[in-house]
Amino acid sequence: MGGSDEAELSRLLRVALGGDEKAYADFLHRAAALVRGYVRRRVGQGGIDPEDVVQETLLALHLKRHTWRTDAPVGPWLYAIARFKLIDAFRRAGRRITVDLDAVSDTLASPEAEETASPRDVERALASLAPGQQAVVRSISVDGNSIAETAGRLGMQETAVRVALHRGLAAIARKFGSD
């Protein structure tokens, strides 16, 4: 990531953390592209689906966004998390590897994800959630409903939906940690 690109991305996240949801979605899309490029360059044949690592990393970036110091450049933080999740993925796939973080600077972004037919790790973790949380997370992510629409469909209060969404996402993240 070039100097000015990184400064721009840092600025974007800073704005997003101030409450701008559109900026946040924008940041996550850019982060996904960067992580995708980072992972694709380090994953050989078979064993690991790069998009799984991208999704786990995004989830981690989201749940741990309070660990970024807003006065620090976002690159080292973002790639440290991606590296951690990548090593985790390799460990789960049964291989030992060290990843050279210095190679980060010449990573190209990959905007497009390859689509596969089999469910991704996040989706599989979703399926093992408690029914209430699962229904809410599925409604908002897979079905694309808003919080208000989800509340209507499932007969819940909006605050209850928010709580269920948050706990559901945290539970999905925990499923990877305990593998």
């Binding site: 996550l28 996904a32 998009e51 992510s141 928010r162």
Partner: protein, 211 residues
């Protein structure tokens, strides 16, 4: 699930703001100190002659060492609790063994050899070895919870440092009770008790500080 769908869910969850790390560490510190204090005053209490002891250099030095450990370990812990935190801050902790070594050297210069050995073994070695880990359990649990809120990329190492911080806090309390003030005693037995907490912390970090 397609990644852009996941991003929609994350965006919808953006309103739920996680507590900042500074707040997490403050709460952990307060909780840990409260638990250690409660246990200390219930089980041990300050030494009866603490009024006069406070005028002794050796007595005061114990606190300089334990508080230095607490402070440097907390700085290291905060850095280790974040991805891409400045890990070099952990080197600050080396100030503690340096300080202890200097104090031991000075003590050796002023004390006769047989007195040194007696003071090294001290009167309450076993109490010291047992009390510091015990007093440190509550703080360690609190610091590990703090790490759970963070995102340590080296969880075992971070847990060990949490143990050192807990040890610094526990040792600060214990030093108020302990009548063995020889720097050699502190350098040996306090260190051993604190090392046990570091080991426990490393295990705790490995098991609990995952994310």
């Amino acid at each position: 699930m397609r990644t852009d769908r996941l991003i929609e869910a994350l965006k919808a969850d953006a309103a739920v703001k996680p507590a900042p790390m500074s707040r997490a560490w403050l709460m952990a510190g307060l909780a840990g100190a409260a638990i250690a204090a409660a246990l200390f005053f219930a089980m041990l209490g300050p030494r009866p002659d603490i009024g006069t002891a406070m005028h002794s250099m050796r007595f005061l030095f114990k606190f300089a060492a334990t508080l230095l450990l607490l402070a440097t370990a907390l700085v290291a812990l905060a850095a280790l609790g974040r991805p891409a935190g400045d890990r070099r801050r952990a080197w600050l902790m080396l100030a503690v063994p340096a300080l202890l070594a200097a104090a031991v050297v000075v003590d050796m210069a002023v004390m006769p050899a047989d007195a040194m050995r007696e003071r090294w073994m001290g009167s309450n070695m076993m109490l010291c070895l047992g009390s510091i880990p015990l007093l440190g359990l509550g703080p360690l649990a609190a610091f590990l919870l703090g790490l759970r809120h963070g995102a340590p990329t080296r969880p075992t190492l971070a847990g060990a440092v949490a143990g050192l911080a807990a040890g610094g806090l526990a040792a600060t309390f214990y030093a108020a009770h302990c009548t063995d003030d020889s720097p050699l005693f502190v350098a040996s037995w306090y260190t051993l008790g604190i090392a046990m907490l570091a080991l426990l912390g490393a295990l705790g970090g490995r098991l609990l500080a995952r994310w």
